[in-house]
């Protein structure tokens, strides 16, 4: 059949066709759709789950692999940091059934804290890494990636970037699953990592990398015969191909799909007759450094252009026009300049991401902000939709570092700046991902902070995945529900408050103000379903009573409220979700409810 598949979907289809038995991951853009797609497939020897975090996922994958199952653990690049501990050890221990670590990098970045490059991680933990350029190529590479993993008994990194993960391509394939028998766990001393064994296995690992080089080199290829050599890979390969249209005779391309370990033979053969080499890649200069090292070791000197000498940007994404700009800089040839008739004549300002209209977090933030008014307070934030609490006019997020850090950074701030009140905000999914250990620490070490768990009963930012607090498993089937309140009480914390942020704003502010009065460690759970999970029952409109005071807009910053060209306030009837938060701030009874038919 022929189907348009998103890169992540292509990976999922190929994983299933190639007999993956266990698929685990934690959602994170741009990786989420791999598990989201896999959950639609069923077979008696196939299991899929959302795990509580990436470390948990990879360790489950490791256990399954040692039992002989084909497995995949999926995550985004910052998730790999969380899973780094098991991954580095696993590279030494080795695997049994094929184990792929699917990691989505995010040059740009579009929705991430860092622009880190997983190809560097592959060098760091001594593992092979596949770096496909398109959904179709990703589809085709899953099979060899499994085979390499099984042949050399090593995890294989399968790295893609946003523009491959989230681009779509028509792909023709036969949807037929390869059945494999799982042989089961076999006891072996090899599975217990101890220092002496680790040393021995490290030597084996280095040997394995040497052994697989030639075989992996088959996935790299040379195109064209021109004297100007371009080394590229991933999505940049397609930018190069489009940028040299009309000048193909001048160039040849070395497309590198497996950058680590890299075979010297192919590189030397390619470089043999080249006048110069240009390295076109996003993020770190990984191809550039690997290729240059090979050239140096073999006594070859060729002029090179890349990131190291400032021709290619380190940060952000590339595209066809940027690649043409690079060629223009190198050759001073105006034919490479983009023919752009219109630049941003209207100077359209950046549209800031913001909490949705009707988002319960907006209300929760404002309740805390009002309750803490007049006090010297620091608000620590975390990773999720609610990171947007930093945006004006909400402005209740002073720090954001990584998953779970709101709770722990709050403790650090309290220790060093003890005159201040410190309030941490964390979402439900993030709390289960890596908030719990921080909470235990605050109880154990007597750090008197307030922790607000913004529970919208889903993982909102990545598209509504279930988590332990929802009690629903990946297919929507019943799992077991973890109660946040019981968990907090179980640790020993007795000061707990549960609040519905949609109910009376004034009463909620009152309750929270009392709660903040004493300095004890305490937890407030703000619980209200994400506005996108329910169809709205009503929306609001502004009537003729409006005095144009704009308080509703200025306090809430709700995206549904705006003023028109005559300074008249209105509520966008398509965007409004009917939460009624704005109504609390109107002194003129100008905001009225409209029921949806």
């Amino acid at each position: 059949m022929k189907k348009v598949l998103m890169g992540n979907e292509a990976v999922a289809y190929s994983l299933f066709i190639n007999g993956v038995n266990v698929a685990v991951g934690y959602p994170g853009t741009p990786s989420t759709e791999v598990i989201e797609t896999l959950k639609n497939f069923q077979d008696d020897d196939f299991y899929v789950e959302w795990s509580t975090n990436e470390k948990v996922a990879l360790e489950i994958a490791a256990g399954a692999s040692l039992s002989g199952a084909r497995t995949v653990a999926t995550m985004k690049q910052v998730g790999l940091n969380v899973a780094a501990d098991p991954l580095l050890s696993l590279s030494v221990v080795g695997v049994e059934g094929g184990l792929l670590v699917f990691v989505a990098d995010d040059p740009g970045p579009h929705s991430s804290q860092t622009e880190q490059d997983t190809r560097n991680f592959a060098r760091f933990c001594n593992l092979p890494v596949f770096d496909p350029s398109s959904p179709k190529e990703a589809f085709e590479l899953i099979k060899p990636a499994f085979e390499i993993s099984e042949k050399y008994k090593l995890p294989v990194l399968f790295r893609m970037t946003t523009r491959v993960c989230h681009s779509n391509q028509s792909i023709e394939f036969e949807f037929k699953r390869e059945k494999r028998k799982i042989k089961g766990f076999e006891k072996k001393p090899d599975w217990v990592i101890l220092p002496a064994l680790s040393y021995k296995k490290h030597m084996e690992l280095e040997q394995k990398l040497q052994d697989m080089k030639k075989e992996l080199s088959a996935y790299n290829k040379v195109e064209g015969r021109g004297k100007i050599g371009i080394v590229s890979g991933g999505i940049s390969y397609f930018y190069v191909k489009e940028a040299i249209k009309g000048f193909e005779d001048l160039f040849s391309i070395l497309k590198i799909t497996v950058v680590h370990p890299l075979d010297e033979g192919l590189v030397l053969e390619f470089a043999k007759d080249k006048q110069m080499l240009i390295f076109i890649e996003e993020l770190d200069p990984v191809l550039e450094e690997e290729v240059k090292l090979i050239l140096f070791e073999n006594g070859k000197f060729i002029p090179t252009y890349g990131k190291r000498n400032g021709y290619v940007q380190f940060a952000g994404e590339l595209d066809v026009d940027k690649v043409r700009d690079i060629f223009h800089k190198i050759f001073s040839d105006r034919r490479f300049l983009a023919k752009n008739t219109f630049t941003d004549v209207l100077q359209t300002p950046k549209r800031q991401a913001q909490l949705c209209a009707g988002c319960p977090h907006r209300s929760s933030f404002l309740i805390v902000k009002y309750a803490a008014k007049g006090q010297d307070v620091i608000f620590t934030g975390d990773i999720g939709c609610y990171t947007l609490g930093f945006a004006k006019p909400i402005s209740t997020t002073d720090t954001c570092l990584c998953m779970g850090a709101s709770i722990t950074m709050a403790q650090g701030i309290k220790i060093s700046d003890c005159s201040k009140k410190v309030i941490a905000f964390i979402g439900d999914s993030t709390f289960f991902h890596s908030g719990i250990t921080g909470l235990v620490n605050s109880y154990y070490n007597r750090h008197n902070i307030t922790i607000c768990i913004l529970d919208n009963l889903t993982t909102g930012m990545t598209g509504f995945q279930p988590h332990p607090g929802t009690g629903k498993k990946i297919y929507g089937k019943e799992g077991r529900k973890v109660s946040i309140e019981s968990l907090v009480k179980g640790i020993g914390i007795e000061k707990i408050l549960v609040i519905d942020p949609y109910l009376s704003f004034a009463e909620n502010v009152d309750k929270v103000r009392k709660f903040l009065n004493d300095e004890e460690l305490g937890v407030i759970v703000f619980r209200r379903e994400c506005a996108n999970l329910k169809s709205r029952e009503s929306y609001f409109k502004i009537n003729q009573n409006c005095s144009k005071c704009k308080v509703c807009l200025e306090v809430t910053g709700c995206p549904a409220i705006d003023e028109d060209e005559n300074g008249k306030l209105f509520i966008d009837s398509t965007l409004c979700n009917g939460c009624g938060l704005c109504e609390n701030f109107c002194r003129y009874s100008a905001i009225e409810k409209v029921m949806v038919k």
Partner: protein, 186 residues
Amino acid sequence: MNDIIIAGIGGQGNILLSRVVCQLFMNRGFDVKSAENIGMSQRGGSVVSYVRVGDDVGPIVPDGRADILIGLEISEAARSINKVNKNSLIVLNDRFVRPKNSDLKKQRILKFFEENFPKLYIVNAHTIAFELNIPKAENITMLTLICKKGILPFSKEEILKALKQVLSPRMYEMNKILVEKIYERY
């Protein structure tokens, strides 16, 4: 080669629309590639999709190369003008959601489009979707209107076929009624 850009704000169904457009071209026997921004920009932020007919290209349309710009929202269409040229076909949904903290005016943007692009069409997909009581379906409303007016060369049957391939059965039934109503009434 046909390069299409769809620009809008998060929540307008931009990505679904680009999927349907891909499917429409694929059903005519073309290979397609597309790209989209999702994630942080998903809700309330800018969303741009690129659809490219042809296989041996990257997913992003280079500057000045788009044949068609479909604007689900007017100021987002303006943001993508570096991707089009004077001969590009511009189709705008008559919907303006001002980026906060800007003094951007709808009329100023429309005037710019009118002055620079001979092939400009404005359709009232937003109003029609609201009238039909499915305000969230302005994406498919827009597509249906564009095809009905002959701006994109796809028949009603082709639209329904592509929707059936892309949407869940429940969503398909809803959108089928929408498409039928638009062909009847507008």
